[in-house]
């Protein structure tokens, strides 16, 4: 593995993305090395290892309880591989949230 196959370098293109009122988590599953830091130190424990393998052979995390995420970004601080980060969304009514980007491979 010398480069990420699909995401352009530095673009931070989220591979998995979930949106809820308090926090949005972006996970670049291609970069993750499965250390589990984000999962263990997430205060509300809303992350878990997914069952899929990434190209490096690890199981990246996924958000299992999106409504519990506070957007504190501790996962982002802990990640030694710069593969996850979160953004806090403050008191935003549901309908004014930015639209979710199209799924990978979907027509523009």
């Amino acid at each position: 593995m010398d480069a990420e196959p699909t995401a352009p370098p530095g673009a931070g293109q989220p591979v998995e993305k979930t949106r809820r009122v308090r926090g949005v988590v972006y996970i670049n599953g291609l970069r993750c090395k499965g250390c589990g830091f984000c999962i263990a130190f997430c205060p509300p424990k809303v992350l878990e290892f997914s069952s899929e393998f990434n190209p490096l052979g690890y199981h990246p995390p996924h958000l299992v309880r999106p409504e519990g995420c506070t957007g504190c970004d501790l996962c982002g601080l802990y990640c030694p591989d710069f593969a996850i980060y979160a953004v806090m969304i403050k008191n935003e009514p549901e309908d004014t949230r930015p639209p979710a980007p199209p799924a990978e491979g979907a027509p523009p």
Binding site: P9, K33, G76, L77, Y78, P80, F82
Partner: protein, 292 residues
């Protein structure tokens, strides 16, 4: 709203990384990447002119940091990060010079440079990732390996008294001394910010997991296990006397900011002394004019 989506579309630390070199070489569960993550966030918060921030590393796994940060950086020979950084600072006093390296590099082969730069109070921010071993070369004993710990060169347990790095830094003359672990991400980010603003020799020791060599040999589990040890056994003791900060094998860890004091820097004392002796003949060092 579109702008909002754009704003969150990239990891905030990505701008500080050489993304084309990712994924990096550090092992799964190695703590070095976590420290770099915190350092990038400190740079983000510090709002410094990044054209004026330079990172210098020596050799080792931690020494790779210079090559992964999107800043002017230099990867020096083993143990020589501090002398290189000293020259850089003296020739360009306006630079913020960060030395980011491992315990073996900074206080093993580079130990003499370390104590003398601290003694002279050269304005450097020295970040030492202490994983208790020489990682890159296969897990040999380091000047920080705790008594009794196994390494490739101490198969019957380490019998050398390790350095107490905060005490070494303080007694040598450092003006800022802190210790955190890669578990303490928020405190570490804050400490990086303080060191970036501090004038003089600033030292931050970061205890960090090396699952591949140190932990495996000592049967301590993976990187996460070590992070849990840091979490459970660390006690914040700001201002604690540094002589009390020695570490033992898997024993309690004192963390915090221990020293924050003022002393004239190397450049200040140099300019002052030469101006006093040479008077009008002295034009100032490295473009710093002591008289108009």
């Amino acid at each position: 709203m579109t702008a909002r989506t754009d704003a969150v579309a990239a990891n905030p630390v990505e701008a500080f990384l050489r993304s084309d070199r990712m994924p990096h070489i550090w092992c799964p569960g190695c703590g070095i990447g976590t420290t770099v993550n915190c350092f990038a966030r400190a740079l983000l918060q510090a709002k410094l002119n990044l054209d004026r921030v330079v990172v210098v590393s020596g050799i080792g796994c931690t020494g790779r940091v210079a090559g992964y940060l999107e800043l002017d950086s230099f990867h020096t020979t083993h143990g020589r990060a501090i002398p290189f950084a000293t020259g850089l600072k003296l020739a360009n006093p306006e630079l913020t010079v960060v030395v980011y390296s491992g315990d073996g590099d900074l206080v093993g082969i580079g130990g003499n440079h370390f104590i003398h730069a601290a003694r002279r109070n050269v304005d450097l921010k020295v970040i030492c990732v202490n994983n208790f071993t020489y990682g890159m070369t296969g897990g040999q004993v380091a000047p920080t390996t705790p008594l009794g710990a196994l390494s490739t060169t101490t198969p019957y347990g380490c019998f050398e008294q390790p350095f107490n790095l905060p005490q070494l830094a303080e007694s040598s003359g450092a003006v800022y001394v802190a210790r955190w672990t890669s578990y303490h991400v928020r405190q570490l980010t804050h400490a990086f910010g303080e060191a970036l603003r501090k004038k003089g020799f600033s030292f931050i020791e970061i205890l960090s997991p090396c699952p591949t060599l140190y932990e495996r040999r000592n049967r301590l589990g993976d990187g996460l296990e070590m992070m849990k040890y840091f979490k459970e056994q660390s006690l914040v003791r700001h201002g604690a006397p540094t002589k009390e900060l020695g570490l033992t094998f898997q024993g309690p860890i004192a963390v915090g900011k221990f020293v924050d004091r003022e002393r004239p820097t190397f450049l200040e004392t140099l300019n002052q002394q030469l101006a006093r002796t040479l008077e009008a003949q002295y034009a100032g060092c490295a473009g710093e004019h002591v008289r108009d």
